[in-house]
Amino acid sequence: MTQQDNIREASQRMHASGNMGVSHRLDYTGSKMGMWIFLFTEIIFFGGLFLVYSVYRTKYALEFRSGAAELSLWMGAANTTVLLTSSLTMALSIAFLKNGRKGLSLVNQGMTVFLGALFLIIKYLEWHAHIEQGLYPDSPGLSSMNRGEIIFFSLYYVMTGLHGLHVFIGVGLVSGLLALTARGAIHPQDFIKLENGGLYWHLVDIIWIYLFPLFYLIT
């Protein structure tokens, strides 16, 4: 039985019980398509930033290299591992819920929230180290560097900052989903909110998958 069958069955049950108010109507395909359309806007949004990055990297290849030398490859790799693992726990939480294993689903959603927070803590430590070094937008240290390096660090702060904001929103979102699942508002017959939350979480992961080589893997 597919997910769609599950939903159809649930909505038929609601129909039969006469409990088919507008607010209770389930449109699995429509909800999911809406979420995908939102994700496309996110792809184009970050795509624009990736474009600016590519253009300036072409122009200032050497400066981007010396700028990247200031970043910690190992912190970047650690954060990649954390975020990839959080995608696994997110996917598992949905799979467990669909199969009626609410407890395991809650544990995995909790893990996702924890890993998202861990990502932000590592990111905070990284930014903190740069700021201690005097490398932050408009700082005397950064202003004394050459144009290419200034652009590299500006893009670094804007792109990882916007991505970090997405992770922050994602942590709040998954926390909300966790509460809804615990209360029983998300259940094996109606889990579209959890699935759409998962789609968002995975997209944020994909953006980091590209940010990692662009900022940390430059030699």
Binding site: M33, W36, I44, G47, L51, A77, L84, L88, I209, L217
Partner: protein
């Protein structure tokens, strides 16, 4: 109602394998860059990132199970992005003077 099998339509192993593949590819990308294995290390790193995104989209985001319209829409969004990048580079790569790349 018939008794349904536990964890139907879902194998924990598939997700764990996808996750291990993602971690392995990350390690490979770091190795390629650190060991300077090739002159095209950056392109290799971006190619690896694209394979990783594919794994996330197909396995974790279940694109496989989506209706065809969602697949076409995703393709169009990616094509639009590719076109924007291509057109921009067709401009900046051929500029002369102070604006040259």
């Amino acid at each position: 109602m018939e008794k349904e099998p536990l964890l139907r339509g879902f194998r924990i192993g598939t997700y764990v394998m996808a996750w291990m593949g993602l971690l392995g590819l990350t390690a490979a990308a770091v190795a390629v860059i650190r060991l300077q294995l090739t002159h095209f290390a950056v392109l290799v790193a971006i190619a690896i990132a694209t394979v990783k995104s594919g794994i996330v989209v197909f396995f974790f985001m279940h694109l496989k199970e989506e209706p065809w319209i969602v697949k076409v829409m995703l393709l169009l969004a990616l094509l639009a992005l590719a076109l924007i990048i291509l057109l921009t580079f067709s401009d900046i790569l051929f500029r002369e003077g102070p604006d040259a790349a």
